[in-house]
């Protein structure tokens, strides 16, 4: 636990100096605030930009940042130094995972400022689940990649599928049929209903299956590659 807190502290300092990671955390919350306040189109669904960008945010920011952080530490051999300082792999993963999750939740909190207070708990709950699955997937990619270049080539297609499929599904029925199996699409549907009463079993099952698959891949990657 102590080492996990050290990792969180270290990441906090590092992120403030790492513009490429920092921008991923800030881009969607800032864009949401701007678009929700600047663009007013007749018949546009309520909180259109908040919902649209939220799904993109949950599929993009945690996945890419976790994969980038882990693969950079592997490439620069700082992860090995941490392991030799008796930081356990789970302490490291927990530190990075919690840090990214907390930062993304803070971003989601900013995005939620335009929503009615009654739906904010539901909205943050949905975002929290989405972030956790994306973080697990990002960790899989980070563990599997020996360096940042490999990580980028792996997370780009994965991130594009998870973050853009729900948006494209709004305009194309065929894509919607395929996107249905992704957790981001199911969470987008739940977000459209914006109520705990609107949660359907098939959505829960799909999200749970996505989460289980991410965990399975994570353990398989960890067993095969470890953190070295």
């Amino acid at each position: 636990m102590h080492n996990t807190l050290v990792i969180i502290k270290k990441e906090l300092k590092d992120t403030l100096k790492n513009k490429t990671v920092l921008i991923q955390f800030l881009m969607f919350p800032v864009m949401t605030l701007i678009m929700e306040n600047a663009v007013k189109v007749p018949d546009m669904p309520e909180f259109f930009f908040t919902k649209l960008f939220s799904v993109m945010y949950m599929g993009m920011a945690p996945l890419t940042s976790v994969a980038s952080i882990i693969s950079e530490e592997k490439e620069k051999n700082t992860l090995r130094v941490l392991m030799m300082a008796n930081v356990k792999p789970w302490e490291y993963i927990a530190g990075i995972g919690f840090y990214v999750w907390a930062l993304c939740m803070a971003g989601a909190g900013i995005m939620a400022t335009g929503l009615p207070s009654s739906v904010i708990p539901f909205y943050l709950g949905i975002m929290a689940v989405g972030f956790m699955i994306s973080i697990t997937m990002g960790a899989c990619i980070g563990i599997f990649s020996a360096n940042q270049m490999t990580a980028t080539s792996l997370f780009m297609p994965v991130m594009l599928v998870f973050s853009f499929a729900p948006m494209l599904a709004m305009f194309n029925d065929k894509i919607e049929k395929v996107a249905w199996i992704f957790y981001t699409q199911q969470l987008r549907i739940l977000m459209n209903r914006m109520s705990f009463d609107g949660i359907r079993p098939e959505a829960v099952l799909t999200v749970a299956l996505n989460g289980a698959l991410a965990l399975l891949l994570f353990f398989a990657a960890f067993k095969k590659k470890g953190l070295e």
Binding site: K9, K10, N18, K76, R80, V81, N86, V87
Partner: protein
């Protein structure tokens, strides 16, 4: 401090370490010498528990390496050639991370940076440091913890002579403070200047070990004295009573410009034993 018994390690069918035996006493600087690819880094990794050996056993602090506890591991400082630093963080912040992990007071950070000559660069991001400064930062990271056992893998490779000398001074100061140092290098001068005992490693096997001077004396087959006279003449005299009388006479007459015994250097011993040249391998590596 470290005892290794018949360590063997292979990668993809290629034997990298073959029956390595070591016995390193507390408070000594032990040098593992060998060309690139001899197995030096692999041996460090096995001894520090980063790699499992295929056979044989290693004990550190009197315990099997696999039984070392977290507290034991905190007594070990490791500086590997390949180890990185956090590029965007300052020197101070880099050390803070490890001070927090080891539970060391932050008040030890500045003295550690001062010790390695990085006090002025304390607030500088690591990415802006030169190669020599980075090496010193990595040393500060190790020294700050005040470990009992320090592993230094090629600590001066690729550094300029001034930085190299500075690092030698730091290593000797650690020895004076009671640390045991395990050093790998392909630099024979470095080994001769620093080490109490060396092992010559070639293709995964220790070809000889002992005190550097003892090794050199052991391979002194020529047993001659070379004298350069002020007249420009060169003399090679064997170890005999007659030669001793002649040398005394030359000294009395003030004829001698330089005088050297024929004992080989570690470099020439290594070449004799293995047919390989350490420095040329190193040059290829840094070419």
């Amino acid at each position: 401090m470290i005892r290794a018994n018949r360590i063997c390690k292979s990668f993809a069918g290629k034997e990298v370490l073959s029956g390595i035996d070591l016995d390193i006493k507390p408070g000594m600087i032990f040098g593992l010498l060998g060309p690139s690819g001899a197995g030096k880094t692999t041996l460090i990794k096995v001894i520090t528990g980063q790699l499992d050996s295929d056979s044989g056993n290693v004990s550190v602090f009197g315990k099997n390496v696999s039984d070392l506890t977290g507290t034991d591991k905190k007594q070990i400082g490791i500086m590997m050639d390949e180890h990185g630093v956090y590029e965007r963080l300052s020197c101070t912040d880099n050390l803070k991370v490890f001070a927090d992990i080891y539970g060391i007071s932050h008040s030890k950070i500045m003295p550690a940076l001062e010790e390695v000559g990085l006090k002025e660069a304390a607030g500088k991001p690591a990415m802006k440091l030169s190669k020599g400064m980075r090496a010193r930062l990595r040393l500060a990271r190790v020294f700050m913890v005040s470990p009992k056992l320090i592993f230094l893998d090629e600590p001066t490779s690729g550094l300029d002579p001034m930085t190299m000398k500075y690092i030698h001074k730091l290593i000797l100061s650690r020895k004076a403070a009671g640390c045991t140092v395990f050093l790998t290098t392909h630099n024979m001068e470095e080994a001769a200047a620093l080490c109490d005992e060396v092992a010559l490693l070639n293709e995964g096997k220790i070809v000889d070990k002992g005190n550097p001077s003892d090794i050199c004396r052991r391979y002194d087959y020529k047993r001659t004295v070379s004298i350069h006279l002020k007249t420009g003449e060169d003399l090679n005299l064997d170890y005999s009573e007659g030669s001793a009388d002649r040398i005394c006479a030359l000294l009395r007459q003030g004829m001698i410009e330089t005088i050297h015994s024929s004992e080989p250097t570690l470099e020439t011993v290594f070449i004799e034993l293995t047919g390989r040249n350490l420095e040329s391998d190193a040059e290829v590596r840094y070419a």
